[in-house]
């Protein structure tokens, strides 16, 4: 259950809340439907869990719908997901048929909702082909791509593009993630909820409880990376960085990640990580359930050094969460991490396990820099990446797209 808008006033200030209420008045009664593929795991579902109730509180008629699919459907959509991010994947004509059939079955179930909505926001590739089926739509349809599709595996994009270009507009998290499409392409970075179980303040007892639960030594520095077990997150590279640091400093490493029902590849990556760890008792590999938000929060707050050593990244909401806890981040020099991590201000961008090890050692030997950079990082998130900013940009988009005008200044 998400908090009401008033609960955020102490964090972002009354002017920001007043602004949102004013914008909500302009959109009162507008019917907004979000469509995604899973309620469990992944940042998209987390965003909608707070966004939908807050839009409702502001006077919009907002809801979200889930498309259901078989295990085979999610294997195919995972391949599509990987293909859009540049991975060479094999998706046969039969697979694309399964993809379209599952969407068609879901469309039949949800047809009345989507045909009457003022704005439909379809998230990511899994439900993207729904638009092909909705011939009698009267509202505006927007495709929201949360991942980096700037260098896709062309055969996958060639098919998906035929669906994407039918939308009235698309949204990307960063300009660098986009593909040319024949409609307006808006840019809206995602955000975090500072009051969610994953981000709220924890008391010392909760922190010490988590430390005991996972057998972490309070006297040795703790390195942590939390993200899905995914090759693009480079968990093996993190283990290599740990081993380099370990030669000179007795550190511990936690690699923690959740599973998602639309991510069957995660299991194989987890097995590779366990093999690379070679039974080292100071490498803690944790497969967390999707609801383990408080555990993730505790691990983030217990960490001395935080890593997000991705080699390919969407926006990287995990990085935002770290920074909200007042911690600098050592992140891969890719995707949305570059938008958030500014060298020597909010963390360090690295390209190799060696680079990560270098920055880990630097921070361990300059503890005061951890506090300074962590403070800057937290304010950076407060001003740019909390859900209130995210909500404002969606409301702005709805106001603009409903007006039907394309002027630089739009009075509403």
């Amino acid at each position: 259950m998400s908090a009401p808008l008033s609960a955020y006033e102490g964090i972002v200030g009354s002017a920001v809340i007043r602004q949102l209420r004013r914008m909500g008045e302009k959109l009162a009664g507008a019917r907004i439907v979000h469509v995604i593929s899973t309620r469990e795991g992944g940042g998209v579902a987390e965003i909608l869990e707070w966004m939908t109730p807050l839009m409702t509180e502001l006077g919009l008629k907002a809801s979200w719908e889930i498309i259901h699919g078989s295990g085979r459907f999610f294997e195919i959509t995972k391949s599509i997901h990987n293909g859009l991010q540049g991975h060479h994947v094999a998706i046969s004509g039969k697979d694309w048929k399964v993809y379209e059939d599952v969407n068609a079955r879901n469309f039949g179930r949800l047809r009345p909702v989507r045909e009457e909505a003022d704005v439909v926001v379809v998230h990511d590739p899994q439900p993207a082909c729904l638009i092909k089926l909705c011939e009698r739509r009267k509202g505006k349809w927007i495709w929201r791509a949360h991942i980096d599709i700037s260098r896709p595996f062309r055969p996958v994009w060639k098919v998906l593009r035929t669906f994407a270009e039918k939308y009235d507009a698309s949204i990307f998290s960063m300009a660098e993630f986009a593909q040319p499409l024949p409609h307006p392409q808006f840019l809206v970075p995602p955000s975090i909820d500072p009051l969610s179980e994953k981000n709220r303040d924890l008391d010392p007892a909760e922190l010490s409880g988590a430390r005991a639960e996972f057998g972490l030594d309070p006297d040795r520095p703790l390195l942590v990376q939390i993200s899905r077990f995914d090759r693009f997150k480079d968990p093996i590279g993190v283990i290599e960085a740990y081993r380099i640091v370990r030669k000179v400093t007795p550190v511990q490493l936690v690699l923690a990640g959740g599973g998602a029902t639309d991510d069957p590849e995660g299991k194989a990556v987890l097995e590779d990580v366990l093999e690379a760890a070679q039974g080292d008792p100071d490498i803690h590999v944790l497969l967390l359930p999707s609801a383990a938000h408080k555990t993730i929060n505790a691990l983030q707050r217990l960490a001395d050094i935080i890593l997000q050593k991705s080699t390919r990244e969407g926006f990287g909401l995990t990085v935002t969460e770290w920074m909200w806890k007042g911690k600098p981040v050592i992140g891969g020099d890719v995707g949305g991490i570059r938008l958030q991590v500014v060298n020597h201000h909010t963390g360090f961008l690295v390209n190799t396990p060696e680079g990560a090890a270098h920055r880990i050692r630097y921070l361990l030997h300059h503890r005061e820099r951890i506090r300074e950079m962590g403070g800057v990082a937290k304010e950076f998130v407060r001003n740019n990446f909390l859900l209130t900013r995210h909500l404002r940009e969606y409301l702005t988009l709805f106001l603009a797209i409903r007006s039907g005008k394309e002027e630089p200044i739009l009075q509403v």
Partner: protein, 217 residues
Amino acid sequence: MTPFEVKDCALLLRMSGLSPAGNLRELRERIAGCSENVLFHHYCETTLRTTFDNPDYRNDFAVWAKLYLGDRVLAERLGILDPYTFRSLEELRTATLEVIDERLGESLMVPWARPGDELFFLESTTVVFDAGIRITQPSRLGAFIRKMTDGSVYYHFLEARRRPPFGKDDFTLWLMENEDANRPYILALASVDFYFHSLPHLRRELASVLTEAKVAK
């Protein structure tokens, strides 16, 4: 005096449709041909956009020259261009192109960025709406500004300079309805070197100078 109607605004950012620039010559071509809306965005709207508050430079071209072309000389020359000192965006465009042409003439090779580090050209729609607040007393302006959103500060103090009468902010225009009586406030606002401020910093600065002017008055 007529009450000051406080407006608020929010940016909706979008791709301009221009191809990204991968080197300095491409940057020159895009700037020469882009719309004024694109130019305005990369010079002026960066303060309201989701971004790091304290970059080395306020305009995107200077930041890109430093970080991705690795050309610090060009970055410094572009970084000092203050868009609010030009009478029009066309004059700003001309000045920008002169800086780039000068640098191209000095360079033995065209500076280029790695794939993935291109400059993307953006523009935005500014959605403006009534904030529902009216200010009736000039002496209270500072207190109201202190509580304004970033959007209101941006719209009335920065974006206003793009609207006629060119180069004037909305607060000053309102105060000029009774120019003699409000001269201390007008001078206080004119004293702020605003281009290099983030919006939270600018809000504090405006509120501060107006409060000082009120005390002095």
